[in-house]
């Protein structure tokens, strides 16, 4: 991906897609406009805007993804209990219907905003942007975005988060990274959740899951954790604290553009007439 605008032109594909390349053909008598934008150009733009917004307030944003029922909300509840009280947490919950998850979070005294996506199987950057209007980021250090339970669609939409954490729960089986490479390739941390079930569901081999992750060239660390018996939680809490510091240092060294200035990056639209 190119660093300036996030388009996907690399030296591996540019021969195919640049003017004159195989994919750049036009019938005679018409005007072809070369675009070279992501199909999710508008979403990516809003995502960048969200990220700038988090950065202006030195807030770390973590996007939690997994299949339904892998334990994202339970992980958040355990995290709220164990994270230092000085670290101020907010949660954005995405579900097709109900406020159930947000209510679970609110019971712990933590601000939670529920996004009901209706029939949409994923969160997108615009939904997060809307949610941020109801969240004073000055009051928080970390925002968890609990995405819609789904190992497919959420991977394609940048929300403006800094890090993706994907849960792979023991009952799901250890070959999920091979079946859903797009999702697991996008993960900055993979968490094997419900690890208290490993002795019972002993066909799940954590090493096999790790090998499947290597197969998709993932460099993400892998943690085993149980929100129920709290094993592995210390490592996760430590990781979060570390990431908050890493982000703060980064933002201090690279201050984001202030205010709501929208800077649009455009590739030159080439006009080809035949």
């Amino acid at each position: 991906m190119c660093d300036s605008c996030g388009c996907n032109i690399t030296h591996g594909n540019e021969d195919l897609i640049r003017p004159g390349g195989k994919l750049h053909k036009t019938e005679s008598g018409k005007e072809a406009v070369s675009v070279l934008h992501s199909l999710l150009h508008e979403n990516d733009h809003t995502a960048k805007h969200n990220r700038d917004h988090f950065d202006q307030h030195k807030v770390l944003a973590i996007n939690l993804m997994s299949s339904p029922g892998a334990g994202k909300t339970a992980l958040l509840e355990a995290t709220i209990q164990l994270l230092d009280k000085g670290i101020r947490i907010a949660v954005i919950e995405g579900d097709l219907e109900t406020e159930n998850d947000a209510e679970r979070i609110r019971k712990h005294g933590v601000k939670a905003i529920q996004i009901a996506t209706g029939s949409a199987c994923h969160l997108d950057a615009h939904m997060i942007h809307q949610a941020l209007h109801n969240l004073d980021l000055e009051e928080f250090d970390i925002v968890f975005i609990e995405n819609v339970g789904n190992l497919v669609c959420p991977a394609s939409f940048d929300l403006g988060q800094h890090l993706n954490v994907t849960l792979l729960s023991v009952p799901e089986g250890d070959d999920k990274p091979a079946k859903y490479p797009v999702m697991f390739r996008a993960s900055d941390l993979v968490m094997i959740s419900k690890s208290d079930l490993l002795p019972i569901l002993d066909d799940f081999k954590p090493d096999r899951a790790k090998n499947y992750l290597r197969d998709i060239a993932s460099t993400a660390p892998v943690m085993e954790l149980s929100s129920k018996d709290k094993s592995g939680m210390a490592e996760w809490i430590e990781w979060i604290k570390q990431q908050i510091e890493v982000r703060k240092t980064y933002v201090e060294q690279h201050p984001p553009a202030s205010g709501h200035a929208h800077s649009h990056h455009h590739h030159e639209h080439e006009e080809i007439k035949m």
């Binding site: 030296h11 594909n13 195919l16 070369s34 675009v35 934008h37 060239a217 007439k273």
Partner: protein, 124 residues
């Protein structure tokens, strides 16, 4: 089924381009999809008539080109075409590779039909 959402985003972009250039209609749209983008070409094709109904791109042909999954090894430097869930260097077998093609979902170009005088009009 996030393909419908992606298709709607595609139509929005195409409509903007067509409007900017005073086009009569859009005749074809070329997009490039890599298998690791998470977008299924056939589902996108199925979503297209729904997303484009009533728009300037309604009758456009949607041409989808699939790009190969290709990695470059960070250890030995060679490049290989690989499967989506096996991004391993075919030369030396190392897993430490970087993807150089295969996660694209890109609007490549749009073909427009214009009236005679608007075709010659400068656009920028």
């Amino acid at each position: 089924m996030h393909e419908l959402a992606i298709c709607q985003s595609l139509i929005d972009q195409v409509e903007n381009i067509a409007m900017e250039r005073n086009a009569q209609c859009v005749t074809s749209i070329i997009i490039a999809i890599g298998p690791l983008s998470g977008v299924e070409a056939q589902l996108l094709k199925n979503a297209y008539p729904i997303a484009s109904a009533g728009t300037i791109a309604e009758n456009a042909e949607l041409i989808i080109e699939t790009l190969p999954v290709r990695v470059k090894c960070t250890q030995c430097g060679s490049e290989s075409d690989v499967l989506s869930n096996k991004l391993i260097c075919k030369q030396c077998g190392d897993w430490r590779t970087t993807l150089i093609s295969g996660d694209e979902m890109m609007l490549m170009s749009v073909e427009l039909e214009k009236t005679q005088d608007s075709t010659t009009r400068a656009v920028h």
